[in-house]
Amino acid sequence: MVTRKAGDGVTGKADMVTQEAGDHVAAALELAREIAAAVPDPELPMVTLADLGILRRVTAEDGRVVVTITPTYSGCPALREMAHDLRYRLARAGFADVIVRTELVPAWSSDQITPEGRAKLQAAGIAPPHPVRPDQGRPGQGPVPLPLTMALPKFVACPRCGSLDTERTAAFGATACTALFRCRTCREPFEYVKDI
């Protein structure tokens, strides 16, 4: 029976056993991180959980891998699939005992989508979100102002032809995180990841 030190499991073990074993645990955790980061989003499979900012962190507790994710929207049905896919892929790599945790604070924002994620969305024909306006539903900032014009981001560029002459055809799209747009230049419809 070993005595655990305070702090997270990896550091504790590395201190207790040998430096070599510590390196081994660190390497395993790094592998788990890579695998978790590469899990595709079930609704937008061209981007990963890391690209979308859904993956918050991968840590170790008592020798188990703990993956912490955050939902984009409260009712996002994909969250369950993400947890399942994380467990499946990590199990395939030998991590049998994985805990997937949900974290609600801070709430997900489209600002957390990485530059790589935005580039991948754009390449797949989905317009990435504009930065969230400072007055847009930040907790603790007092009443949310009512714009009376449906909070339209300026200049959503067509992801296909780059034209700025686009219009929104629907405030909500096929998934919780998108709205529908149409390009007036190339006439193609496209999705826009809502800025929240």
């Binding site: 590469a38 899990v39 595709p40 079930p42 499979p45 061209m46 912490t68 939902p71 929207y73 409260s74 009712g75 996002c76 049905p77 994909a78 369950r80 699939e81 947890a83 399942h84 896919d85 499946y88 892929r89 805990i99 997937v100 945790r101 949900t102 974290e103 609600l104 604070v105 801070p106 709430a107 997900w108 924002s109 847009q136 539903g137 907790p139 603790g140 007092g142 009443p143 949310v144 009512l146 714009p147 009376l148 449906m150 909070a151 055809t169 629907a170 405030a171 909500f172 799209g173 096929a174 919780a176 529908l180 809502k194 929240i196």
Partner: protein, 295 residues
Amino acid sequence: MTDDDDFAAYQSLAEETEDHRWAFGTGFSDPLEGIDTSVPAGVDGAALAAYCLALGDDALIYSHRLQQWVTRMPELEEETALANIALDLLGQARLLLSRAGQAEGAGRDEDRLAFFRTEGDFRNVRLVEPADADFAELAGRLLIFSAWRLALFGELTGSADPVVAAIAGKGVKELAYHRDYAAQWVIRLGDGTALSHARMQAALAAIWPLVDELFRSDAVAARLPGVAADPAGLRAEVDGVLDAVLGAAGLDRPTGAPLAPVAGQAGREGVHTEALGYVLAELQSVARAYPDATW
């Protein structure tokens, strides 16, 4: 990226798992899994459970009413919008009912609370119960509901219960979007043709008697200082929003008298309109017919 990567999310559904899922999006686990759900010191756990139940019931019943519009909307885009709004509210309901079950500590999970309570045990406000008579009523009720809930959740982002604060923090973003959507339609109908204006005005008159109840003092909230929001304190913000929208829409603020509580009791005390029974009959029928089923 390989094909394997593209489809692994779906392939993994075919794996034998412990959760017996049968379709995408099923096999629900506790939506608060991995979140610290201990009740903070000094907070009345029973009152917290009752409070979360009421806020969860508002979202659950209204989500179901919105879902009933799916396949009946005038345009596909609007139907998608309503389905998305209903989904957001269902997500809020799941989080809140789960929180209620944990704070109660009697082993009831979200499904137990949603599907195996009778009318008198529901604590939602009566505003969410009636079926909308037409699209104008849908837009009006959605505007009032989302303006009120946004004001409420705005207050709750500072709740002393960290779980309630977290749920509210997510919900604020969603509700702001819902409110914008509803406001757009109220303005478009109110400021549209003579017919659309008349129907929007009539719709507001039909809903108005249920508005007063949203701001009634609440015995449960009173037991939760620092955790719950005082309903009366939300009135100024909601009135300001409604006045701004009605003004832009050229609509008059209705003057109809509030629907009185029954012997001092309304939705928050479990006294409902006749409409709630019909919602529950549909909402609960499958779970009650197959009580051992999982989904």
